[in-house]
Symmetry: C2
Subunit: 151 residues, 2 copies
């Protein structure tokens, strides 16, 4: 098993960062505009990636943990085969005026090129999350930063 892990600091309260991770509207503001479903324990979130009207990707995840101001965990149920069964995790802690987010995309079966692509993409989406929380405007797909020939 292999994990993608990233650490980012956001100048905002844990409550504000948590809101961007634990609500449909929040996630739609930094990951993909096409986020729907129910962000409650046991609920399903649906993420679609659309480019010029064409669907480029989709994932469904079950919300398995929501601890206000502290933690969010999703388990991927549908999407690219490499993603199924993986967990996407966010752990929040406060250090002065900064909320530190430890992000994880965990339990990949293979640390291959697609994981390397996703690791780089997640890093840019975490910068988008920071922008959203600090400035009110992120760069969710389809306005996301393209990082390679896979998008």
């Amino acid at each position: 098993m292999a994990d993608i892990i990233h650490r980012i600091g956001i100048k905002a309260s844990p409550a504000k960062v948590y809101a961007a991770l634990a609500t449909v509207e929040g996630v739609a503001g930094w990951w993909t505009k096409e986020t729907t479903g129910e962000s409650k324990a046991g609920g399903t979130l649906k993420f679609r990636f659309v480019d010029h009207g064409a669907e480029k990707g989709r994932m469904d995840a079950e919300v398995v943990e929501l601890v206000p101001g502290k933690a969010v965990r999703w388990r991927v149920k549908a999407g690219p085969p490499e993603w199924i069964g993986t967990d996407v995790t966010f752990a929040l802690s406060q250090d002065g005026d900064t909320t530190v987010v430890i992000f994880g995309h965990r339990n990949w079966r293979e640390a291959g090129d697609f994981m390397a692509h996703c690791s780089m993409k997640w890093a840019t989406f975490l910068l988008s999350l920071r922008e959203l929380v600090e400035t009110g405007k992120g760069k969710p797909a389809p306005d996301d930063l393209k990082i390679d020939n896979w998008n």
Copy 2:
């Protein structure tokens, strides 16, 4: 053992990307301005991170592989304890007008918060590498994007 891996595409020839990875001047243009030493097999590269005149970090690495247009590998010999014995790797391949770089920082003993920090930092330095190669100007330290309360 745990690895950081990232994938990025750069619109330039493999030779041009390789030059930014395999020469002291190249690395000084995207990672840290304070890069010195000899980029040849068996040579030592010295990386210093300086902020407002104060040294914030330093690493020394042995150049263990240089394959023109294809691959660069460094082995860290001195620096943060977590880094010693790790390998930093770049594998290049061409896809049309894009050079795809598979970056690795491999053989971490522990996938902890410091690795998560470094994973995020490497992602931003790879964006800096792309900027350097595509536009002529990267964002090496100390002009690097700060990503958390560890810098």
